[in-house]
């Protein structure tokens, strides 16, 4: 009786989430702005990679003390400063290009034209010149990242408005496409140029010479800065897992998280290069290597518990799930156990998984682990942990994560295992049902293999 009541509440809760969270996820995934931001941040990867390399390589002479190495770095070490300026120093500019590309692509606009317009608009408000006419680019780096996002969206929207309402100079039929496209750009260019020059001068007169990116940063600082606090990080990690629990990929959150992660990583790299104290724990590297260690919800403990289970089914799921888990992929666990929509595993997966995932971040905060300065590519879990901050202690902390994960999931798994063993006993007599109906199977005909 009690069991039934419990099921009822869970179903009510599930229904509630289905009516709220799923439509939100759907909206986010289909929102052209958020999708463009998400895709744009993904292509910042080469920029961040170069930035990390430029920060890490100059410390080579500390490890290899050969005179030739020291010599080379003394003579040519400046190239790393150059790489750093070209990559992280211009990350805002790259972001405006990438986001306007993806947004104009989704609106089926002339993409390269939109990118040019957005870049011009961004440079008008974010660049400065000194008395000698030299460019001052200090806001084209991560300080300009959020400005870049807004400007890309506004510029592309203006361009779209002009095209939609035919406020563009149209060439007669027969004129080559690229020629007419360039004429099309004349009116929106004028509009965007005037608009952003006006914005710049207004900001200038209101603030006494402060640039727009700084104003936006000041405005967003409380929101962005809050992600440095573990008290904010924990609910966010939980929320990622809530999405997963309802079968929604947590990439739904990345339009909000990834620009911040990109900004944080570039600030960390810059601080590392300057020999200053690093401050940010949330980067894409941290999220992937630690929060999603062996997959969302740090499910490695559950995999290990399944491998030694007496249930045939769980043993099989464990075997399928082990290898991908070591590369941080745990869909076989999420869907195979399943964790998704499984009331027994909801609490340990969401609240426990988020805590185990946050453990390395706590270690960073108390000085037991280096802060992240690199977003590793897809590599096995322990290597990924090491590469994030080039710290071997990451491996030890990940071993602790494995242990904690095991003891977190074990008691709940035992409940599932007991149910499953009873089921297996019963189902020896009954036939299992297939997703393929007999009618469909007939269609396969000769191709049944």
């Amino acid at each position: 009786m009690k069991q039934e009541k419990k099921q009822g509440t869970f179903e009510k809760f599930e229904d509630f989430i289905r009516r709220t969270l799923v439509p939100i996820a759907n909206k986010v995934d289909r929102n052209p702005y958020l999708t463009a931001i998400k895709k744009g941040m993904v292509v910042m990867t080469p920029v961040l990679l170069l930035g990390s390399i430029a920060a890490i390589f100059p410390s080579i002479p500390e490890f290899i003390k050969a005179p030739s190495v020291t010599n080379w770095f003394e003579n040519y070490g400046y190239v790393f400063d150059l790489i750093s300026k070209v990559s992280l120093g211009l990350v805002g500019l790259y972001a405006v290009l990438a986001i306007s590309y993806f947004l104009s692509e989704s609106y089926k606009l002339y993409t390269i034209g939109s990118m040019m317009l957005s870049a011009i608009a961004f440079l008008i408000v974010a660049m400065d010149v000194d008395k000698n006419g030299n460019i001052i680019a200090s806001y084209l780096d991560s300080k300009g990242l959020f400005t870049a996002i807004f400007i890309a969206i506004i510029s592309v929207k203006i361009y779209q408005f002009f095209t939609k309402h035919k406020l563009v100079i149209k060439m007669p039929e027969g004129v080559p496409d690229f020629v007419s496209s360039s004429f099309e750009l004349i009116t929106p260019t004028a509009a965007i140029g005037v608009l952003f020059i006006v914005i710049r001068t207004i900001v200038d007169s209101l603030t006494g010479g402060v640039l727009l990116p700084q104003v936006i940063m000041n405005f967003l600082a409380p929101a962005i800065g809050s992600l440095d606090s573990l008290w904010i990080i924990y609910p966010i990690l939980c929320l990622r897992l809530v999405f997963w629990f309802f079968g929604i990929h947590s990439a739904v959150l990345s339009p909000i998280l990834s620009p911040i992660a990109v900004q944080y990583l570039s600030e960390n790299i810059a601080a590392h290069k300057a020999g200053e104290q690093l401050t940010h724990v949330i980067t894409n590297g941290t999220l992937s290597a630690f929060a999603n260690f062996t997959g969302s919800g740090v499910t490695i403990g559950l995999v290990l518990a399944m491998l030694v289970s007496r249930s045939q089914r769980y043993k099989k799921v464990g075997a399928v799930a082990l290898l991908p888990s070591l590369f941080g992929i745990n869909e076989p666990v999420l869907f195979g156990v399943p964790i998704i929509l499984n009331p027994v595993l909801m609490i340990p997966f969401i609240f426990g998984g988020a805590f185990v995932g946050m453990l390395p971040m706590i270690a960073m905060k108390i000085g037991l682990l280096n802060y992240p300065i690199f977003d590793p590519p897809y590599v096995p879990v322990f290597v990924e942990g090491f590469l994030t901050g080039f710290d071997w202690r990451a491996v030890i902390i990940q071993v602790v994560q494995v242990g904690l994960s095991f003891f977190l999931y074990l008691p709940f798994f035992k409940v599932l295992e007991k149910q499953e063993l009873e089921m297996e006993k019963k189902s020896n007599e009954t036939k299992s049902t297939s997703v393929i109906s007999d009618e469909d199977a007939a269609l396969l005909g000769d191709l049944d293999f």
Partner: protein
Amino acid sequence: MKILLVCAGGFSTTMMMEAMKKVVKQSQKLAEKDYPMEAIGVDKLDRYLQEYDVILVGPQLSHKYDYIKEEADKLQKPTVLLTSDIYGAMDGATVMKQALIAYRKNKLAQ
């Protein structure tokens, strides 16, 4: 018959794809060269959709399935939303069968 597998990042569908390729390889009746497959993240869908005959969608994208189906329907390509249990078990044989059935049904409907 060209098969396209779609998930969020293209990682877990790559596993599914490998399982399916193994089934095709071991099968007496199916030849590998007849079934080119690719696993992609959903963000790349519009660039790939045109070239493929069957679209298989991972269960973690069930909230997006309507959109994917809509896009595929425009090009008259069949879609299959994979269920959690087959996906979790990485059951390549069943998914391969589902793909073949969807393809044949689509052919018959046209």
